[in-house]
């Protein structure tokens, strides 16, 4: 039996990037906001101080910052005719937990998507014809355009102090930036981070091959920065402990270093941490959310009533909460009906490790940050003619030097024994002269009819709720794309003078144990009409208009970039719609 708490204007489920943005924006609009976070409170000096932030064993190997599968997990299978099993140790992606969410442990690679990404189906059908797309591919347009999102990308980049080189300011192409990017209204707030030797060499070779390399946009500070909320970040020290780690010296843009100090000063904001939301409550009509129910660490169940519910959890938990709360029609891949769980995607990542002459090349891999490197965008989205290649999609690729951490940075040339004295000798010889990009080929994953999320028929969590079940595999389109991109990537390392190159193509079946990225997307997608999407273009539930669902769960398919820039821009876009439209006239913002 749950106890009822005093009603709030807004309840936010999950205080990661989007939860923090929504909380700030809605509290700033004068609403009484409470956030409910499954994990603990986290702060720089007390939770990941420089004294132990750089503990590779604790954070990288033992997953200290992440959700513990003992608390909750989900089940996985490749094919619809298989039986899914629960994931008991994270591998392919790292579900976040705690205040700041994935924003605490990201690399801070801060991209915008291409204008054509938002109209993917229309664009590709126009250029190549409908028959060019695989029959079971279910990509669709987002319902918004790049131009709609531009001011909100801008807000996020200025919130974060993103370090980068603009390639297109108001339509004018700028030398040294990404010439393929959509027009931005102004340059990045900070100059790019300094590039290590390997990235400089990569850029030189790429230029000689006719590409236009540019510095990766980084949420790690190239210089001290004060954001529009008055919150400050310190300069990055290039320590190389970003992804999987919290930043010990306030240099990485996270909710903690950009929003929370300003949010916590607001008297109309409060937070309950260590509290897991178990369902969104609806009134008798099923068309209105009345709040949420959550359970604290004592096992007490509480009801938090609210006029507005913002679901800001990690992708798969957003989908699971919708399914468990009976909001929207569950997706049925056989009948091809329903939307909740549909168009679930991840990423198609691969890498190339190259070995150079140790007498001539010293790369110092430990000079690193989550997002320093030189990238090219020639093979992303539809920046190149896919006609001759027989696939769609693409990705950026780059020599991004994220770390030289000792446990995982042991590149050895093919043919080296896997252990023993020879292996040790090879590690020693190659540590300084091998390049293993932290992000190599960052490929898209498009959506398919048989890749989705639903509720598992067998496995349940500690509350007796069905776990979410993911059914996911690579399709030929993505494997072809990856082969093509990986070969192109390797050519650049060859041109740099590598004496040996190891290509690690992404191969099927989709493997839950091998890390790619934490970019699970889709399942509660945005779109143009209720029949093809769970949310309208403002991330508002078509079925329950006082519910908004933020995060990458709204992506109809996953383009070839890291998603956080777009996830956050969408949150600002949604907050803006709530402030300027919904609050004046609560109800559906789009007529269905």
């Amino acid at each position: 039996m749950s106890r009822k708490l005093p009603a709030k204007d807004v309840v936010i489920v999950g205080l990661g990037w989007t939860g923090s943005i929504m909380a700030y924006e809605l509290a700033d609009a004068g609403l009484d906001v409470i956030a409910i976070e499954r994990g603990p409170w986290r702060n720089t000096a007390t939770d990941y101080p420089p004294g132990y932030a750089a503990d590779e064993l604790r954070y990288r190997i033992r997953h200290d910052l992440f959700l513990r599968p003992e608390q909750t997990t989900f089940t996985f299978r490749n094919k619809m005719n298989q039986t899914a099993l629960p994931i008991r140790s994270w591998g392919a992606f790292m579900p976040p937990n705690g205040v700041g969410g994935g924003g605490v442990h990201w690399n801070a690679e801060t991209w915008r998507f291409l204008p054509s990404d938002f109209v993917a189906r229309t664009h590709l059908v126009n250029r190549y014809g409908a028959d060019f797309l695989p029959k079971d591919m279910t990509i669709q347009d987002w319902g918004i355009t790049y131009d709609d999102l531009e001011p909100h990308y801008d807000r996020f980049e200025y919130l974060c102090g993103t370090s980068g080189q603009a390639g297109n300011v108001n339509g004018q192409i700028i030398e040294g930036g990404n010439p393929f990017e959509g027009p931005r209204s102004r340059p990045y707030p900070n100059p790019p981070q300094q590039q290590p030797f390997g990235a400089t060499l990569f850029a030189k070779a790429a230029r000689e091959l006719g590409y236009k390399p540019f510095p990766q946009p980084s949420g790690n500070m190239s210089q001290p920065y004060r954001n529009p909320l008055g919150v400050r970040l310190g300069p990055c020290t290039y320590c190389g402990f970003c992804e999987w780690f919290g930043c010990g010296n306030y240099s990485k843009a996270t909710p903690q270093t950009t929003i929370l100090p300003a949010l916590l000063r607001k008297q109309n904001f409060s937070l309950r941490d260590n509290s897991e939301v178990t369902r969104i409550n609806l009134d008798a009509s099923g068309k209105r959310a009345t709040g949420v129910t959550f359970v604290d660490t004592d096992g007490n169940e509480w009801e938090q009533p609210a006029d507005l519910v913002i679901l800001s959890a990690y992708t798969i938990f957003n989908v699971q909460l919708l399914l468990l709360s009976g909001i929207g029609e569950p997706y049925d891949p056989i009948a091809d009906t329903g939307t909740v769980g549909r168009n679930f995607t991840h990423q198609t990542i691969s890498d190339v490790t190259s070995f150079f002459d140790p007498a001539k090349f010293v790369f110092n891999p430990f000079i690193a940050s989550g997002a320093i490197g030189m990238c090219i965008d020639e093979f992303n989205g539809d920046n190149f003619d896919h006609g001759p290649h027989g696939f769609v999609g693409g990705g950026y690729m780059g020599q991004v030097q994220t770390n030289g951490r000792p446990i995982e940075t042991t590149p050895v040339p093919p043919g080296t024994p896997a252990w023993g004295a020879e292996w040790k000798k090879a590690v020693k010889e190659n540590y300084q002269s091998a390049l293993k990009p932290g992000t190599g080929v960052h490929g898209s994953m498009y959506s398919y009819r048989d890749v989705y999320v639903d509720l598992d028929p067998t496995y349940k969590d500690r509350f007796g709720r069905p776990l979410a079940r993911m059914t996911i595999d690579f399709h030929d389109n993505e494997l072809k794309q990856n082969k093509f991109l990986t070969d192109k990537f390797a050519e650049i390392f060859k041109a740099m003078g590598a004496k040996q190159i190891k290509k690690e193509y992404r191969k099927g079946p989709y493997d839950i144990t091998k890390y790619q990225t934490t970019h699970l997307c889709g399942g509660a997608i945005m779109g143009t009409v209720p029949g093809n999407s769970t949310l309208n273009r403002y991330l508002q539930s078509w079925d329950v208009p006082n519910l908004f669902v933020t995060g990458a769960s709204a992506f109809p398919q996953n383009p070839g970039y890291n998603p956080t820039g777009t996830v956050a821009a969408l949150a600002y876009w949604t907050a803006d719609a709530i402030r300027s439209k919904y609050l004046k006239n609560p109800g559906r913002l789009i007529d269905a």
Partner: protein, 410 residues
């Protein structure tokens, strides 16, 4: 004593003019507003509110003194347990003369030796404001001192020896701004309560006003601006520190973080600047290098510094403006007493978050990671290499600081 009597007579006379009990009422908007501002400048709420309590001014916060612990009384207008039944005269006597309602003498934890520099009108306005706050029924047992300090009669001699009552008298040779700053520092701001060294009996060493002291495990550094530790701080630097808790040199944490958060950040830009103008004009003590610390200790300290401290404070110790203190300019680093340096290394410290500087960066604790000799080495290195203080910190000093901090509740 004669001056006390004179003031008492003057007060009595004024009282007759002003009416039997009240000088200003809560109806008097201007008085309430002025009183609210002075209450902030005097930081009454800091002691008279239990931290974290939803009831400002309801008292109960333990106040440490060198002689034991007192609890701050309830100063809400509750008639039974607060000051609701007090007359303005009684209130004025408490604030400016250190006399309780029953005539007993207050302990100088209540900074009446400073508040006496305020005018009767100032205090009447504070009273007018306090009359408007929520009355809270909260009986506080104030006196928790051990014998013989629990005897308030012991204060008779103290008052006679150390208490110089009397309003602030402007110095005609100085500017209006200087005089306003002097009034705020010497009067409501009661800066000397922490920053002036104390005699054995807890009174100010008045010849060394604002030369620095130690209390509650923190160094209250010298804050004189001519040749003291604020020598290289500009008026703007000092004003920014008071207003925002941060400047290009330092960050307010601990007790000073509270002072900034509750009091000085709410003062007008003009007032914090006037305080800065006054402090910059105070001579203070000349810095003096004493002895050079041991080379091995400096080498070890330097290595620890590069390893654990330089990510934020940078290799050159200059930190990041408004975020991480510049160790060459932080007053507590160069202070004779290393209490703050040791405390923040051992326990860490969060700097204050203010409206203008909301970040509030925090220094992590290193006490779990470094042993006493290592902390001594890095503290010695920081004080000598970056600061202006060459007296070494010993491992035994660190051990004592560690035990003292472990015993602290705040």
């Amino acid at each position: 004593m004669r001056r006390v009597v004179a003031i008492a007579i003057a007060a009595a006379t004024l009282c007759v003019c002003a009416g039997p009990s009240r000088g200003a009422s809560s109806q008097d908007f201007a008085a309430v507003e002025r009183g609210r501002y002075l209450t902030t400048a005097a930081d009454c709420g800091s002691c008279h509110t239990t931290p974290g309590s939803a009831h400002p001014f309801a008292g109960g916060r333990p106040i440490e003194t060198p002689f034991g612990v007192l609890a701050a009384p309830n100063i809400t207008p509750d008639r039974e347990t607060g000051i609701g039944a007090w007359t303005d005269d009684e209130f004025d006597a408490a604030v400016r003369r250190g006399r309780s309602r029953d005539g007993a003498r207050l302990y100088p934890a209540m900074p009446f030796p400073y508040y006496t520099r305020m005018s009767r009108q100032d205090v009447a306005d504070i009273r007018a404001y306090l009359d408007t706050v929520e009355p809270v029924h909260n009986a506080v047992t104030v006196n928790r001192l051990p014998f013989p300090f629990d005897l308030r009669s012991s204060m008779i001699a103290w008052d006679a020896m150390y208490f110089t009552p009397g309003e602030f008298r402007p110095d005609a040779s100085k500017s209006k701004e200087w005089n306003r700053g002097a009034y705020l520092v010497q009067g409501p701001g009661h800066c000397g309560a922490c920053h002036t060294p104390k005699t054995l009996l807890g009174s100010d060493e008045s010849s060394k006003a604002l030369h620095g002291s130690v209390l509650q495990g923190w160094t209250a550094p010298e804050i004189t601006g001519k040749q003291g530790s604020l020598r290289d701080w500009s008026v703007e630097d000092i004003a920014a520190y008071l207003k925002t808790g941060h400047n290009k040199n330092a960050a307010a944490a601990g007790l000073m973080g509270e002072v900034v958060g509750r009091s000085t950040s709410h003062l007008t830009d003009g007032d914090v600047e006037d305080i800065a103008i006054y402090l910059k004009d105070l001579s203070g003590s000349a810095p003096g290098k004493t002895a050079s610390p041991d080379k091995d200790v400096m080498n070890a300290g330097g290595a620890i510094y590069q390893d654990l401290c330089s990510a934020c404070h940078r290799g050159d110790g200059k930190g990041v403006p408004q975020m991480f203190p510049n160790l060459t300019e932080v007053a507590t680093v160069s202070a004779a007493k290393p209490d703050t340096v040791l405390r923040v290394i051992i326990q860490g410290a969060a700097s204050v978050s203010t409206e203008k500087e909301p970040t509030g960066p925090a220094m992590p604790a290193f006490g779990w990671q470094l042993d006493d000799a290592q902390i001594a080495a890095v503290a010695t290195y920081v004080r000598s290499h970056f600061g202006k203080q060459d007296s070494a910190v010993s491992a035994a000093d660190v051990g004592r600081a560690r035990s003292a901090l472990a015993a602290r509740v705040n």
